[in-house]
């Protein structure tokens, strides 16, 4: 900054102002009583806390203004704990503010930079130490040490290999095969075509194979299918996709092609499916084509037909992997 411009001078730390409690002993006593009252309120709150824990039943409900019906055990337990802590704090702060000396103190900052003599000594010591180790001259030691340390450093990574299996072609497979019946979720009941009215939806899963009575969540995460019935003339599909529907009933994977949330929000009038996670919108009449939102691919369609007993079954497995994308998806 140029020396010609003179700035306004620093008037220094302002003079210390006395508080009421510094001047008037009665005010000080009053402050002391206030602090004591706060500590006592804290003690009382702890008593309330202990009482609520042991003696207020967890089934009692009381009405509290502004809050409505509340569980008495919970509310008094919580308020007891809260105020027992809060009043200690408020008391301590009030004590510090009113009774402890509040004279401002000035301390000096020291420069962090070490004195030059120390810095020189450090450099000398460091250099001597390095020379003594002899790494500079003995490159064989340096290189072999590098190899040893480097290798031992990466060995823990191999220990993590068994964290999980490799995916293989898991992503491409679901439980759906040709002839797998669609059953209700929950309930596991087969579904006939005329069980569904126009405008109806049904949450479905593949029928459990014989001998299995339990569906792991990992299977549900790929197998969940949504059935929707429209009028056949509502569809705007190419002949192949049309052949995957049955009398106006169309089936889609329920697992969003964006990030895997369940897509089952069907708007009957617009014939759109909405995923609530990121608002991707799919047009059912055009094979779940994406019309809004971040999803980049339509929901995979499951080809369906009926078996000899008139129950809805899959014609074939899904023609593409279900769920979110991954690098080798189309490979």
């Amino acid at each position: 900054m140029s020396k010609e411009i003179q700035t306004i001078q620093d008037p220094g730390v302002p003079a210390h102002k006395l508080r009421q409690t510094d001047i008037d002993p009665k005010a000080a006593d009053r402050a002391e009583r206030q602090v004591a009252i706060m500590f006592l309120l804290s003690a009382l709150s702890t008593v309330l806390f202990i009482y609520s824990y042991f003696f207020i039943s967890t089934e009692t409900f009381i009405f509290i203004p502004l809050m409505g019906e509340q569980n008495a055990h919970q509310i008094f337990l919580g308020l007891g704990l809260a105020f027992s802590l809060l009043f200690i704090g408020l008391g301590a702060v009030h004590w510090a503010k009113t009774l402890m000396p509040d004279n401002e103190v000035i301390a000096h900052r020291h420069e962090f930079r070490s004195p030059d003599s120390d810095r020189d000594d450090f450099v000398k010591t460091a250099k001597e130490g390095a020379a003594a180790a002899g790494l500079g001259r003995r490159s064989l030691i340096k290189r072999s040490m590098g190899l040893a340390l480097g290798l031992v450093g990466i060995s823990p990574i191999f220990l993590l290999r068994d964290l999980g299996p490799t995916p293989g072609d898991d992503f491409k497979k679901t439980s759906w095969k040709a002839g797998t019946r669609l059953v209700t979720d929950p309930g596991d009941r087969p579904i006939r075509a005329d069980d569904l009215e126009v405008g109806a939806v049904a949450q479905t899963l593949p029928e459990l194979p014989a001998g299995q009575d339990h569906r792991p969540l990992s299977d549900i995460g790929k197998d969940a299918v949504l059935l929707i019935r429209l009028r056949p003339e509502d569809f705007n599909l190419d002949p192949e996709r049309l052949s995957w529907t049955y009398q106006g009933i169309i089936a889609f994977s329920k697992i969003c092609s964006h990030m895997g949330c369940a897509v089952a929000l069907y708007e009957q009038q617009t014939k759109h499916l909405l995923c609530p996670c990121h608002q991707s919108t799919f047009d059912v009449t055009r094979a779940a084509k994406v019309i809004f939102g971040p999803a980049a691919r339509p929901l995979p369609q499951l080809a369906i037909t009926v078996d000899e007993e008139g129950c809805l079954v899959a014609q074939a497995p899904f023609n593409e992997p279900v769920g979110p994308s991954f690098w080798e998806r189309s490979a």
């Binding site: 509310i75 009113t98 109806a200 929000l265």
Partner: protein
């Protein structure tokens, strides 16, 4: 007494008795098995249809057409059934107050009798879902709460939210809250699929399952707030708002007091 015992063996007695018995049994079954909440006689029904038609022409035909055939602004009502009419009109959705994205629940314009009349008229145009009877709505007896919760989360929560508080659909439409709705209207909504809502057929969501859902909804309505004020039951958004307003507000306020000089 003597006249009766003289005619007891008259040959017309048997056929007459048979006719009486048939009429008696038939009428008893018809009255007992009626699907409507207030069973009407044939005469009452005709009167209701006439009254309904009159109300319809006055209050509904301007959008739905003189013969309920629909138009550019309103769908056809032929085949929607008494259940649809009861749902839409008794919840006040119809008549619509304005031409907005969707009809909202509001104070109904027509009373119960008028609603029944409208329902009778519309269902006379073509067969459709009937209004469920009291017997069909005994969710306390026939439903299961836990099953209802599972069914709600699988079939309903994606639109109506996990606690039935409602949710957003596309283009400004929304799924309304299901709290404070009459059980009969919940049932009717499930079977008729009003507006954007799909239909939940009785074969894929059985009547008993529907009653379980209703039982769960009623339990959720009555469930007391546990752990404090419920903050709307919409999840982390309101919780975050409370932290940034009450939470930080209180703490920063106290910090300002803490560092202020005492007088």
């Amino acid at each position: 007494m003597k006249r009766l015992s003289r005619h007891r063996r008259h040959k017309a007695v048997a056929p007459l008795l048979l006719i009486f018995a048939l009429l008696g049994i038939g009428t008893t079954f018809q009255v007992a098995g009626a699907a409507t909440t207030s069973p009407m006689t044939a005469a009452e029904r005709t009167a209701a249809i006439a009254e309904g038609k009159e109300i319809f022409l006055r209050g509904c035909s301007s959008c739905h057409g003189l013969n309920a055939e629909g138009g550019s602004v309103a769908p056809s009502l032929i085949g929607v059934g008494a259940a649809s009419v009861d749902f839409q009109v008794a919840t006040g959705r119809m008549p619509m107050a304005d031409m907005s994205q969707q009809a909202m629940r509001k104070d109904p314009v027509y009373n119960d009798e008028e609603v029944a009349a409208l329902a009778a008229y519309v269902s006379s145009l073509a067969p459709g879902p009937e209004v469920p009877s009291e017997e069909m709505l005994n969710y306390e007896r026939d439903g299961e709460v836990a099953e209802g919760g599972e069914l709600f989360r699988t079939n309903c929560a994606m639109c109506h939210n996990f606690a039935g508080q409602g949710g957003a659909l596309t283009q400004g439409k929304y799924a309304p809250s299901v709290m404070g709705v009459e059980p009969v209207h919940i049932y009717e909504a499930l079977i008729t699929g009003p507006q954007s809502m799909p239909v939940f057929s009785d074969k894929t969501l059985t009547p008993k399952e529907k009653l379980s859902i209703i039982k769960w909804i009623k339990a959720a309505e009555k469930e007391p707030q546990l752990g404090g004020v419920a903050l709307g039951r919409v999840g982390p958004v309101t919780e975050g708002l409370l932290v940034w307003t009450l939470g930080l507000g209180l703490l920063i306020g106290i910090a300002v007091w803490l560092t202020a000089k005492a007088k």
